[in-house]
Symmetry: D2
Subunit: 341 residues, 4 copies
C-alpha cells in the first residue's frame, strides 16, 4: 500500500503515519517527492483496510498495490484451473460446456422430461432449481428437498451432472448428496456464511456475480470459498444492473475477458438472466464463446411458455440444439486464433 501525503502535510503528521504503520506490525518506507511525501507499507498488507489510513490527518490518497485477492489470482496460480463436475465434463479446459435446464424443478416427470430434452439437444449438464429465490414472498419458491430428490432421479436416468442452487447453509448438506455442483445465486454472492459453508465442502461451486458486484468484489467472494480449501470454483457472469431496462440485465462480457486474464478459475456465462429475453439468448451465447467463456448456462424448457417461472427467457429444445451447435462452431474457430495483447 502506498500512502501519498497531502502537499502541505506537516512533518509531525508524516511521523505519526509512520508510527501508525509500525503499530500495525508493518514497516513504513518514507520517500520524499518534490510536491509530496510518500509512505510505502512493506509486507503483505492485504488484511489492512485502506480506509483506515484515508481518515488520518495529512493523508491525501491511499493506493493499494497488491490485488485484494490472492488464491483466486493468476499471480498465485498461473495455469487454468480445471473443474471436473462429473461424467467427464470439465470446466476450464478445451471444451466449451453447455449446461441447460428449467428455471425450477416443477415435478418428477417434468424434470425428467426436461433432462432428456436437454441431453438430446447436446447439453452436457442439467440445471434446475429446488430452492428458488423470489423477489416476492408470494411467488413460487420451489419444491425444496423433494425437488432435490427429483433432480437426483433425473441424474440417474440421464447421466447428466446436476447444477442446483443453495440459498442457506442449512441446505448445503442435503444438496451435496444429490447434486454435482452447488450454485450460489446472484443475491447471495455476499452471503458470507453461505460462502464459507460451501467452501467447507469439496463439491464444485458455481458462483454467480451479484447484480451490482464489481469484478474485485466478485473475486473476493470466490476467495471466501477458496480460503476454506475448496478449489473447485466456477465463476458465472449473469448480467449486471444498469440504467438500461429494455433488457432485464446488462450482460457484461468485458468482465468475462478481464476475469480470464486475472484469475485461473473457469468463467461461464448465463445469457438467460443476462438478457431476460428469449430472442437474445442465442446471439449472446455466441458472443460469450467468441470472447473466451468456458461454458454457457442457459434456461431451457420442453414447452417454454408453460414454464412456471422465467418463461420469457427460457428457450425450447430446438433452440438449445442450435445453441449447442453454434457454440461448438464458434469455439473451434476461436481456439485457432492468436493471443495478441
Amino acid at each position: 500500500m502506498i500512502i501519498v501525503m497531502e502537499a502541505d502535510a506537516s512533518e509531525q503528521q508524516i511521523a505519526e503515519i509512520c508510527a501508525y504503520v509500525q503499530n500495525l506490525g508493518f514497516e513504513p518506507h518514507r520517500s520524499q517527492g518534490v510536491e509530496t511525501t510518500i509512505v510505502g507499507i512493506i509486507g503483505d498488507d492485504r488484511r489492512l483496510d485502506a480506509n483506515v489510513f484515508r481518515a488520518l490527518e495529512g493523508v491525501g490518497q491511499v493506493i493499494p498495490v497488491l490485488k485484494p485477492y490472492k488464491l483466486a489470482s493468476r499471480d498465485f496460480q498461473p495455469q487454468d484451473s480445471l473443474v471436473d463436475i462429473g461424467n467427464g465434463v470439465v470446466l476450464g479446459g478445451p471444451e466449451v460446456a453447455v449446461i441447460a435446464g428449467p428455471c425450477s424443478v416443477e415435478g418428477e416427470q417434468a424434470i425428467l422430461e426436461a433432462a432428456q430434452a436437454v441431453k438430446q439437444a447436446g447439453a452436457v449438464a442439467l440445471r434446475g432449481g429446488a430452492y428458488k429465490p423470489r423477489t416476492s414472498p408470494y411467488g413460487f419458491r420451489g419444491l425444496g428437498e423433494v425437488g432435490l430428490d427429483y433432480l437426483a432421479s433425473a441424474r440417474v436416468a440421464t447421466g447428466l451432472p446436476v447444477v442446483t442452487e443453495v440459498m442457506s447453509p442449512a441446505q448445503v448438506e442435503y444438496a451435496c448428496e444429490r447434486a454435482d455442483v452447488l450454485q450460489i445465486g446472484a443475491r447471495n454472492m455476499q452471503n458470507y456464511d453461505l460462502l464459507l459453508e460451501v467452501g467447507r465442502t469439496r463439491k464444485p461451486v458455481m458462483l454467480k456475480r451479484g447484480l451490482s458486484a464489481t469484478m474485485n468484489e466478485f473475486l473476493l467472494a470466490a476467495e471466501y470459498i477458496l480460503s476454506q480449501g475448496n478449489w473447485q470454483v466456477i465463476l458465472c457472469e449473469r448480467g449486471i444492473r444498469t440504467f438500461e431496462t429494455h433488457t432485464r440485465n446488462t450482460l457484461d462480457l468485458n468482465t468475462v475477458v478481464a476475469l480470464k486474464g486475472l484469475t485461473h478459475l473457469p468463467v461461464v456465462v448465463d445469457p438467460s438472466h443476462g438478457t431476460g429475453r428469449r430472442e437474445l439468448v442465442l446471439p449472446m451465447a455466441r458472443a460469450a464463446v467468441a470472447c473466451g467463456a468456458d461454458g454457457i448456462i442457459v434456461e431451457a424448457h420442453p414447452i417454454p411458455d408453460a414454464s412456471i417461472s422465467d418463461a420469457q427467457q427460457a428457450i425450447s429444445p430446438a433452440m438449445l440444439a442450435e445453441l449447442v451447435k453454434d457454440v461448438k462452431a464458434i469455439s473451434q474457430v476461436v481456439r485457432k486464433m492468436a493471443v495478441v495483447a
Copy 2:
C-alpha cells in the same frame, strides 16, 4: 394485471391467452380497443408472474395494476406504524431518533466507552456490529457471540437499546436475547431464509436497502418479514451504488420521501454508509430530517481515526452532539410545515 395484445394478434392468440388465464384460476376480461385488444385479469394476481404472460404469442405488454406488496403498503394500513425499540424510544412517531455507535464492537471496555459517549452526546440507541460482513475474507469479521455479550453489558450500563446485525439464521436466537433491534445488512436484503427467520421472531428488525435494490424490491423484502407476522420493521436507506465514485454510495433521499408515501413503516437514514465520508455526514443527516426521515443511524467512535473498520466515515462524540442538536432543530421546523401535494 392488464395484458395488451399486439396490434396484429390473431383471434386465436387472444382466445389462448383467455384460456391460459382461466387455467391459472383467474377470470379474463376482454375489451376491444381500436388498435389493440386488452385482456384484464380479475382477482388478487399478486402471486402471478407478469413475465409468464410476456412470453406468450401475441402479447405486447403486461401491466401490473396492483402493487406487488400488500402488508407493507399504506393502502393496507393507512396510519403510521410505531416501532418501540425499548427504553421509551419509538420509531415512526413525532420524535426523530438518533442511533449511533461504532462500526464494530472492538472489546468490552471499548463498547462501554463508546456507549457512554453516544449517550452523553444525546443519541437514544446504540449501534455496533458483532458480526461484520466484510468484502474480503482477510478483513476483521467481528467478535461474534462475545461481541453480543459486550453489547448486552453496555446496554445494562447505559440503558440504551441496542441495534446489531445478524448475517445468518443461526445467529438470530443468540442475538434476540442480547439486542433490541436485529439489523439486516444491505448485502443480505435478499437473503430470504434470513428474512423469514427474523420474521418469525417478535423483535424489531431494521432492514437496510440493498446496494442496487429498487424501491419495490426493498418493500418486497420487508413484506417477507411482515408475512411471518413480525410487524416491527424499520426501513433504512443507506445509499445506492451508482456510477459516481467520489462518495462511497449515493444517498437516495428521493426514495425516503417516496417510501413515506407508500408504506406505513418507519424510515431511517444512514448518512455514514450513504456518503462514506465524515465531512458529509452532518449535512446529509440534516437533509434526511428535512425531507421527513424518522431517524438517523450513524457511525460514531470515541476516537474515530482509531476505529478498526470504516474509520473514514465515523464521527467524533463532538460531531455527534452537533448532529443530535441539528436534527432536533430541523425536525421542529419541519414538523410545522404544511403537507401540500
Copy 3:
C-alpha cells in the same frame, strides 16, 4: 396510448380525461374493466407526451402502445438499410466492415502513415479526429480544419473512406467536403441542433450512443437525423457508464442484438471506447461480430504508446491485422447460423 385509471377514479375524473383527449384532437375509447377503467387514445399519438396524462387526477398508469420512433423502426422499413460510405464499402450488408485509425489526427505525415498501416492491415475505412471532445479544457483538442485537410490527403493517397467527428453545426460544411462519414460523438448524442444539421446533409452519419442513453433515446436521436431526410445513419454502440470501473465503459452487446431486431439501420461496435483497455479490444471485437454487429470501429496507431490521446486503448497494426482476420473468420461462421427466435 392507454390510460389506466386508478381503481377509485370517479366518473367525473374519467369524463374529464376523455374530454382532455378530445381537446388534443384525438378520439378517446373507454372500456370498463372489473377493477379499473381504461381509456384508449385513437390515432398516431407519438407526438403526445405520456407525462401530460400522468399528472391528471385519477390517472393510475399511462402506457404507450406505439414505439416512440417511427422512421428508424423495422415496422416502417422491414429490410436492412445499406449505407454506402464510398470506395465500395457498404455497412449493413453481408460484409462486416472494419474501420480503424488513430484517436486524433496528429499531423500530415502521421495520419498518412496511420492510413497506410490501417489499409495494409486490411481495414476498409479510416477513422481519425480533427475535432476532439476533451473532458478537460487543458487537453489537446485536435487540429481542426487543418486536421480535416490532412485526412482528405490521406484519403486521396490510400483510397480509404474517412470517418471523422463533428462537434458543432458550424463544422459540418467543411467536414462534408473532406470526409465520407460524419461522426456524432457520445457526448453529443442529444445535441439536437447538431443532429438536425447533419440530417440536412446527404452524408452518411455515424451516431454513437450516449454514455447513459437508453436504447429508445438512441433510436430517437437517430430519428432526428432521419426526420430531416438523411437516411444514411449508422448506429454505434461504444459502451455505457455503469458502476463497474475496472473497464472504462461497459460494452452493451445486448443492445446490439436488440437494435438489429428493432431497426433497419446498420449497427457497428467500438470495442476501443467500449473497454478502454488494449488487451480487451480483440476479444470483444470477436464477440461483437458473433452476436451480429455490422462493423467494428477501432482505435489503431502505428506506435500505440506514442499516441497523443487514448494511448491505453489503441492497438498496433499487428493486432489490427489479427482483428481483421478474426472478424472475417467469425463472420463466415455466424452467417451460416440459423435465425431461431
Copy 4:
C-alpha cells in the same frame, strides 16, 4: 502525477519512463520503494493525460495528485463566488434564492401570468424555456426567438431576472440581449463549443449536471466556461441516472455538499427534474437547503396539469408559496449551525 511501476518492472523500463517524462517537458523524480519503484512528475501536469502513461510497458498505476480543474477549485479561490443575476438577486451569498417558472414559454400572455404568479409566491427569478431539448423530434421544441421576446416582456412587467436555456452557439447572442442567466442543459453539459461560447460572454451561466456526469466532469465543464474569462458560473444538481426508475432521476445531494467543499461557485438544486414527481418537490427542496444549497430552481405553472411539457413535475403557485416559506425557515435554522468537519 505519480507513476507506480509494476513490481517486476525492469531497470530499462524505468529508465524509458523517465526519458518519456523528460520528452514531455517535465522533470521525473525517481524514488525506490521496497516492492516497487515510483516515478513522480514535477510541475503542473494538469494538461498531461494519465492514460498516456498507463499504456507504457512496466507501468502499474498512475495517480494524479493535482485536481484536474484549477479555476473552479477552492484551492485557487478560497472565498465563495457571488453571482449577481440582477434586480438584487445574488447567488452564493447568505440568501437562498428560489427561481421558478414553467418548463416552456407557451405564449406571451401565458408567460406573463406565470411570471406574476411566481413573483407573488415569493420567488426571486423567473425560469422558462424558449428552446426545449426534446428526446423525440416529434415533441414541442419551444417558441424559439419569439419565446425569448415574451420572456423579456415578462421581465419588464415583473422585474424578475430571467433564466433561460441555450442549446447551440448560434442562439447565445439573441438570448444574451433578452435574458439574465444563460442555462446550459444537462444534455449539453459536454457540448464544448457551447461552453466556450457562453464563456466568451459576460452573462451569468447556470450549468446543469449531465445525467451521468461525475463530479469531476461537472467541474471540468465549469472550467471550460471559466477558462474563457466568464467567472459568473452557477452549478445546478438536477438528478443523475441510476438503476432506480420509480423517480425520473436520483437527486444526488451528496454531491451538493461535496461541491460546496471543493469549489467556490454557487450550487443550486432542481428538485423538479431531480425527482420528476410533483409530490416529491417540496420535501426535496427542504432537504437541499438543509444540506447547504444556495438556491432552488423549480418548475411551477399557474395550472400545472395544463402545462404543455413536464406537467407531472410542475407545482402550483400555492405549493410554490409553501416552498418559498419552507426554504426560508430551514435556511435560517441551518445558517446558525456549526461547521464541524
